[in-house]
Point group: C2
Chain length 167, copies 2
Amino acid sequence: MENVQAPTAALLTPETLLKHWQGHRGLTRRVIEAFPEKDLFEFAIGGMRTFAVLAMEIIDLTGPGIKGLATGEWSQGPMPHHSGEGMSKTKEELLTLWDETTKRLEIYWPQIPVEKFDDKVKAFGMYDGTILSSILYFMDNEVHHRAQGYVYLRALGIEPPAFWDRP
Amino acid sequence: MENVQAPTAALLTPETLLKHWQGHRGLTRRVIEAFPEKDLFEFAIGGMRTFAVLAMEIIDLTGPGIKGLATGEWSQGPMPHHSGEGMSKTKEELLTLWDETTKRLEIYWPQIPVEKFDDKVKAFGMYDGTILSSILYFMDNEVHHRAQGYVYLRALGIEPPAFWDRP
């Protein structure tokens, strides 16, 4: 029975999935950094939200999300920062919150045992799914909104960081 | 030993991953459909490529990519369509190619045994990785470029399909 988890390793382990996500998070952080301070909070296209607000949505899903998935506690509600007074006012504040979220992910992730990824959850008390489907949603949502930041940067004449560069 | 693969099922099976990808592909198809014919091939922001070309890149990675990963044959090279004479001239042609790619994915995917996902490959004869990392790259790249299409649609005053709607 020593090898019982070997087939898991062959497809995707929790460690691999977390590393993949953190690679994406590192890239998203560099996209935040690439914005001029003013444009981060003011520039948008077609009535969309600024990249600061999009980044804050990612923070709001990821931080409270991973805690909720690991502990079942969703007391913060879905959107504590980006729609209220917790919204960062500067790039530095936003990056600090980003880094706290990165650490939070490292803390709570190992508290989810591999056999629980298929458990049903109601994320943020509202969204039906499993632990895994919620995590995939958070990740996809990050790639989605980050890519919108790429278009903002291009429209501003700024070269974004390379999409494939996620060490 | 009957239960040896149970932990795989708990995290992510090839079937679950394919279903997740096809859900994304269905959404990307609806984003293509949402573009007016002319804008699909002509509209862009900040010197970026049109959404037709971005969609064709997704086709070029996914179709030849899944065949290469399943069979080891990469003879088509990385980009047969979007940079050459294979480039679709109409939305209808593009959607037809899209649907052929969707079918191709269904055909080749089951030919990759679960225990091979961790095998090293050089995708398109150029990109070092594993079968799984290549697949994740193709999927992430699709979400990334599709999201750029969302910004184009918003800039055109068109409401894009809901990001979370991936049945």
